[in-house]
């Protein structure tokens, strides 16, 4: 049920989406269309599908849900959870909570930045890792702690943090070899 005025936006989302993503997006829109106060849930749904909030998708839902683009951008930039740029395959959340801070989270950060060759917030060139901060993961007795793909690691030393990254890299290489073979 798309009208002609939406074709331009639709073409734009097709450039950043797979077929499955498009059908999931339509499902999301239908679920929340007309449901008041659901913008945050919609954005969470999009981020779950894409890993971030692609601009063409935001412009598309603005039209479909009849929400002003400025409002969507306002909400998307207000909350820490939302990202406007793509992330790597593995998302590293380094906890910045108080317990982690007093237990040397800065040293873990330095080790991770060095190991990955990125700054805080950055994504590695091979798009495998994105390093970001989390206000607090709530695993304070494991401080300092980081979470990768939902799994928490702690208490960490700089060396252990490097080892975790190398372990994931090794797995990636192995699975690539298997695919190649």
């Amino acid at each position: 049920m798309s009208c002609s005025c939406q074709t331009e936006e639709k073409a734009a989302i097709q450039r950043v989406s797979t077929e499955t993503q498009i059908s999931a997006l339509e499902e999301l829109i239908n679920r929340y269309k007309g449901v008041e106060g659901s913008l945050i849930s919609v954005l969470q749904g999009i981020q779950e599908m894409y890993g971030y909030l692609p601009r063409p998708v935001l412009e598309y839902i603005a039209k479909r849900l009849d929400i002003k683009k400025a409002r969507i951008y306002g909400v998307a930039t207000f909350y820490a959870q939302f990202r406007l740029t793509p992330v790597g395959k593995h998302l590293i959340l380094l906890c910045q909570g108080t317990a982690c801070h007093v237990n040397g989270a800065d040293k873990i950060e330095a080790a991770l930045c060095d190991e990955l060759g990125v700054e805080m917030g950055g994504t590695t060139e091979n798009r495998l890792f994105t390093l970001t901060e989390a206000a607090c993961l709530g695993c304070c007795s494991l401080a300092p702690v980081m979470m990768i793909d939902g799994q928490a690691y702690g208490p960490l030393t700089p060396d252990q943090a490097r080892k975790v990254i190398r372990g994931i890299l090794k797995q990636e290489e192995q699975s690539r070899e298997e695919v190649g073979a």
Partner: protein
């Protein structure tokens, strides 16, 4: 035999799932028909993964720091009817020291029941309080019981719970909402996460009773996106409660209908403030507004709304079941009942503890907490997170009750208790908290938005060794103005960490400003690392590990740090073998 394993976030992070697999594998290999159960967090997080072996006669052996290998050893030992002494940390008759002095009301089921089983919850008396309320009490009587109990909000502000309920109840209107604030944003606090992961039905039962008391039509849990396991278990619990008739139409055959849904927050500390939370629930930017009207008058979608914290609600079923007077019998004149604290930081035994109100801070830190890590010297304890303050050693005998804590300049807060030793720089810590609140300021009030920024700039200057005379006074003045000129609790309390550290650790600020030194040796700009030539044996370890290759020297000869290249990461100090301790900081 039942083998129970702690699988809350901390248990899983410590490797609990692997241990569970190893246990299941060992049962199969040995042909044992033992039952494997999961449970939530008992609070002894530093011993995770934790495994309980429950024998036929009811006796229990508890094992700590279980690994995949020890899991098997434990099974083998228990098969022959013996305990594996070296890993056993407690039995049912001799509880671990961590539990000494604790009184578990809110955490009554955590670490005991399977949080994903409603049957486990009802077997321990769950939902009986709800039945009592629905069949034998009027909503007014429920509120009266809560009033007698003296329960105050456990989320931070400490407002009497009955008063809020009553205010919402008295508002006219057919539609009213009950909201559970589960957006635990205070860094260093994890009480609510553990409760939701360990005993979600207790929170639900509390919500349903509260809903009945205020005559609410529906309930919403505002959960935290960073707590996926808590959200998952709560969702499962809601499904089970619905299936058993504890939620939905005509609950337990009464006339009361009520249902609960979950909405996930998206990460904003300010959403702990009630009006900001409501804005966020409505899909907007979470910005607070002026009160009145209070949420009890005009809240979610402008309807009367009552908001309670997770721990507050978890206490409710216990109070209804045991009577308000039993709850009020614990604690002090002004603060009744118990309080859950999340012990973390430079402490030996981090974890969750629930103690009667009024217990001195010292008893908590040196009792269940086990004292300071590496037997270093206690310096301060931080209560209340970014809105709270630091309490120094001289005030360590302060009892934990709302008023006594407030008198120190800190706040009770939600229960985060971060312990610091001599290696923590109080100026850096205050900078850390201010950085947090500055980042989380929603930007609505100018004093908060710009004032915290200016304060942060000064704090960064101090830590960089560029402090100027007069900075302390400027911080105090700005802090006062921000507190007076901001609308919500975030701005009203953002300067607290700075003001309390100035109050109790002024010399440390002065040393940063006048001597350009950091007594705790934490502020990188104010310290240098040296290798003492007479102690260095030239093992080359530091040179190998230095991330910027700024250490040079031949093998078996003293090494030297190039101060121009050194990033002061401290790696050399960490790796230098303790028998030589050749690296020093000044």
């Amino acid at each position: 035999m039942i083998v129970r394993i702690g699988l809350s976030s901390c248990g899983i992070a410590a490797g609990g799932l692997l241990v569970k697999e190893a246990l299941a594998f060992a049962f199969e290999e040995e042909g044992l028909g033992w039952e494997l159960q999961q449970t939530g967090c008992i609070g002894m997080c530093h011993y995770e993964p934790l495994v309980d072996v429950i024998h036929q006669d009811g006796s229990i052996n508890t094992y700590g720091n279980v690994t995949v290998d020890t899991a098997r050893e434990i099974v083998v030992a228990e098969m022959s009817g013996a305990a594996l002494e070296k890993y056993r940390i407690a039995t049912d008759r001799e509880p671990n020291d961590c539990l000494a002095g604790q009184v578990r009301i809110a955490l009554r089921n955590c670490g005991i029941i399977d949080p994903e089983s409603i049957r486990d919850y009802t077997d321990r008396g769950g939902y009986q309080a709800l039945q009592k309320a629905l069949t034998r009490m009027t909503p007014q009587q429920v509120i009266e019981e809560i009033k007698i109990s003296g329960l105050k909000g456990r989320g931070g502000a400490g407002f009497p719970t009955w008063f809020k309920w009553n205010a919402t109840r008295q508002e006219p209107g057919d539609i009213k909402y009950l909201i559970c604030n589960a957006d635990e944003g205070d860094p260093g606090a994890f009480m609510d996460r553990s409760l939701l992961e360990g005993d979600p039905h207790a929170v639900l039962e509390g919500m349903i009773i509260a809903g009945y008391a205020i005559e609410a039509t529906s309930g919403i849990v505002y959960g935290r996106a960073e707590y996926p396991l808590a959200i998952k278990r709560l969702g499962k619990a809601i499904g089970q409660a619905r299936a058993q008739g504890m939620l939905g139409n005509k609950i337990m055959g009464s006339k009361f209908s009520f249902d609960i849904s979950i909405k996930q927050g998206a990460g904003a500390f300010v959403c702990g403030e009630e009006t900001a939370l409501i804005a966020s629930l409505e899909g907007e930017r979470g910005m607070p507004r002026l009160k009145p009207p209070f949420p009890s008058q005009r809240g979610y979608w402008d309807k009367p709304t009552n908001i309670n914290n997770v721990e507050t609600l978890a206490n409710v079923p216990w109070i209804i079941a045991n009577g308000g007077e039993s709850f009020a019998a614990m604690g002090t004149a002004d603060s009744k009942g118990t309080k859950v604290f999340a012990l973390a930081g430079r402490i030996k035994r981090g974890g969750l503890v629930e103690v009667p109100m009024g217990m001195p801070l010292r008893e908590i830190i040196y009792g269940p907490g086990g004292g300071i890590k590496d037997d270093k010297r206690f310096k301060a304890v931080q209560l209340g997170g970014p809105s709270g303050g630091c309490i120094p050693e001289a005030l360590l005998d302060t009892p934990v009750d709302y008023q006594s804590i407030k008198n120190t300049g800190a706040i009770m807060g939600s229960g985060g208790m971060v312990v610091m030793d001599e290696t923590t720089c109080m100026v850096d810590l205050a900078r850390y908290f201010l950085n947090f609140t500055q980042d989380e300021s929603c930007g609505k009030c100018v004093p908060c938005r710009i004032g915290t920024k200016r304060m942060l700039e000064i704090m960064e200057r101090l830590c960089a060794g560029e402090g100027q005379p007069g900075d302390i006074e400027l911080l105090e003045m700005l802090g006062q103005q921000i507190m007076e000129g901001s609308l919500c609790g975030l701005g009203n309390s953002a300067p607290n960490p700075v003001l309390t550290t100035i109050r109790y650790f002024r010399e440390e600020y002065e040393t940063h400003i006048h001597d350009k030194k950091c007594p705790a040796k934490q502020c990188k700009a104010l310290i240098t690392y040296h290798i003492e030539a007479d102690k260095c044996k030239g093992c080359t370890l530091c040179a190998k590990k230095c991330p910027v290759n700024c250490i040079s020297g031949e093998a078996k000869k003293p090494h030297v740090i190039d101060q121009n290249l050194c990033t002061k990461c401290g790696t050399c100090l960490e790796v230098c073998p303790s028998k030589w301790s050749a690296v020093s900081v000044s």
